[in-house]
Amino acid sequence: MSASAAEILPAGGGGGLDFLDAGGALARSPLQLFWRRFRRDRVALASLAFIVFLIVIAVAAPLVVSILGLPGPNVQNLNLTDAFGSPLGPSLAHPFGVDSLGEDVMSRVIYGTRVSLEVGLGGTAISTAIGVLIGMLAGFYRGWLDMLLSRLMDVVLSIPVLLLGLGLGAACGVRGCVKGLISPGLATIVFIIALANWPYVARIVRGLVLSMREREFIDASRALGASDARIMFREILPNLTAPIIVYASLLVPTNILLEAALSYLGVGIRPPTASWGQMLAAASPIFNTAWWYMVFPGAALLLTVLAFNLLGDGLQDALNPRNAR
């Protein structure tokens, strides 16, 4: 389902392994080759820099907010609404304006970075981990285990993610699910993302593992008496790292957008936590009276998603020189 993730979805093969063959007589490791190519892509570098910047902001949000002299994200200032309750626009004290509770929008955008990155990176990481594990098992063992797991993937892929998320969010968003282990809010979203995304990763990994199984280095390891687990984790997994990273980096923006959509539908992050999606949801209908409330979180969301997409493109280009743009 992800943006350009399907671009590397193999219609039968491991497109991401080409660099293994390209080596030949060169003394450089694949990693070094990759980095050289990546370094030359200025757009990708810029995106990486922006993402690092975002991470710094997310981690150091309280510090950033206090340096800028802004109130905290949940500090209500009810005097900043006019007689009709409409919020006031950008000013020196509040460069991005305030929302209908008088909370500073810039501060909320900064803190919202945390939510987006947690959801994007965390949710993706979890679903990737699950997908890799299952994909590896399916591809390595084949037979009935593969059949079972593949069918499971099919089932989950048959349900539209947003509807699934909507239902789960509504169901778990009131009192929590799994006996309260999944509580309303962030945990629910991450749970939904993990649940919805793992089949995509699993399918790709499975395909890659299937094609890798037949290679000589696997046979060599077996001849040396290596156990299945060792082969899977020491031999196969490292070779999957590259495509997994590329794929994951393309899943991140999709998941960030998914959180925004779920928050818009009311089953995502709950107030008073600041989340870009939730801010957009509240702001969209009143765009004409409070343009700042929609423009700034919207721009933040757009730039973040754009950056991850561009980074993913860059990674992909660096790993598959044949697709050089």
């Binding site: 979805l9 349900i159 539209p160 993610v161 509807l163 169901a171 923006p253 959509a261 969301l301 561009l310």
Partner: protein, 319 residues
């Protein structure tokens, strides 16, 4: 070939059954509120609630409810009755099907045609201005949330509340048969919003896939042999089409999900909107019915994709 198709169809049916079971678990075992309580409204004295629970069949054990539910679907093709309006889910969905189909089929057409043509042009004019603009635009289209985009469109172009009043606003959808022109114009903005993301993905994929193909040796040979460029390009496209077909199956699911957002913003009385409200109201029969329907479409789309692959690549039939 036939055997492959039959196998795929059978698996499709099994999938549907499993999905039905899954939605049952999802929407009844993890409830957000007792629908009987919600329906009883402002005076839910225990007697009334018990009454309603009996009416809705909620007092039976879960396995019993599940068995009843599965029987109704697969034997009678009945999806139960809405807890709220008591209308049969089938007719509720049926009444809204045309709106969602209008929306999604139109968007799908726009997405495929638009995406592919932009992708082809971009691939053939790599690194030129047209390419950069197209790919830049595509990136932005992928990165913008649909509901945000929808509101921006409304506030710019809606004839009732927009800045430049050129297209009908929210809520102006009418059926194709009642007023074809109004039907068409009221769907223009929703189509664009719904198709934007997917079209962009298609364009990018087409571009990369075609660029790769056009670099192949046999293309060079064809050119050297003196084939007109148009036919060369056609060869390229045919070879590049594979990943696109795969993507189609995956994107159908995305499209159906996104339809919820677009229907909500533009107030189109479709199935997405129905589903959204039903979930809020814990109206399980309606929710299950709509999710099942969506899953059916995805399963069918994926069967079509798989069969197309099997047709193009005989090796697949034996997997």
């Amino acid at each position: 070939m036939i055997r492959y198709v039959i196998r795929r169809l059978l698996w499709g049916v099994v999938l549907l059954i499993v999905v039905a079971a899954l939605t049952f678990v999802l929407f009844r075992v993890l409830p957000s509120a007792n629908p009987a309580l919600l329906r009883a409204g402002r005076d839910p004295n225990p007697g009334l609630v018990k009454n309603i629970e009996a009416l809705l069949g909620l007092n039976k054990s879960l396995p019993e409810q599940f068995w009843d539910y599965m029987k109704e679907i697969f034997l009678h093709f009945q999806f139960g009755y809405s807890y709220y309006s008591q209308e049969s889910v089938r007719s509720l969905i049926g009444g809204r099907l045309s709106a969602t189909v209008s929306l999604t089929v139109g968007a799908a057409a726009l997405w495929i045609l638009g995406g592919m043509s932009v992708g082809v042009i971009s691939a053939l004019r790599r690194h030129k201005l047209a390419d950069r603009l197209a790919m830049g635009g595509a990136l932005v289209a992928i990165s913008a949330p649909e509901f945000w985009l929808g509101f921006v469109f409304l506030l710019l172009f809606a004839s009732d509340i927009g800045k430049f009043r050129i297209l009908p606003g929210a809520g102006s959808y009418v059926g194709l048969t009642s007023d074809p022109w109004k039907w068409f114009t009221s769907l223009i903005m929703p189509w664009i919003v719904l198709a934007a993301g997917s079209a962009a993905i298609f364009a990018r994929l087409m571009r990369s896939s075609l660029s790769e193909t056009m670099g192949e040796d046999y293309i060079r040979t064809a050119r050297a042999k003196g084939l007109p460029e148009r036919r060369v390009v056609r060869h390229g496209i045919r070879a590049a089409i594979n990943p696109i077909i795969t993507l189609f199956g995956l994107e159908v699911g995305v499209l159906l999900g996104s339809a919820v957002l677009v229907e909500s913003v533009f107030n189109i009385p479709g199935i997405g909107e129905l589903n959204y409200k039903a979930i809020q109201q814990s109206d399980f029969p309606v929710t299950q019915g709509t999710v099942l329907l969506a899953s059916l479409f995805i399963i069918v789309a994926n069967i079509v994709v798989d069969v197309a692959y099997a047709y193009l690549d005989p090796r697949v039939r034996y997997s």
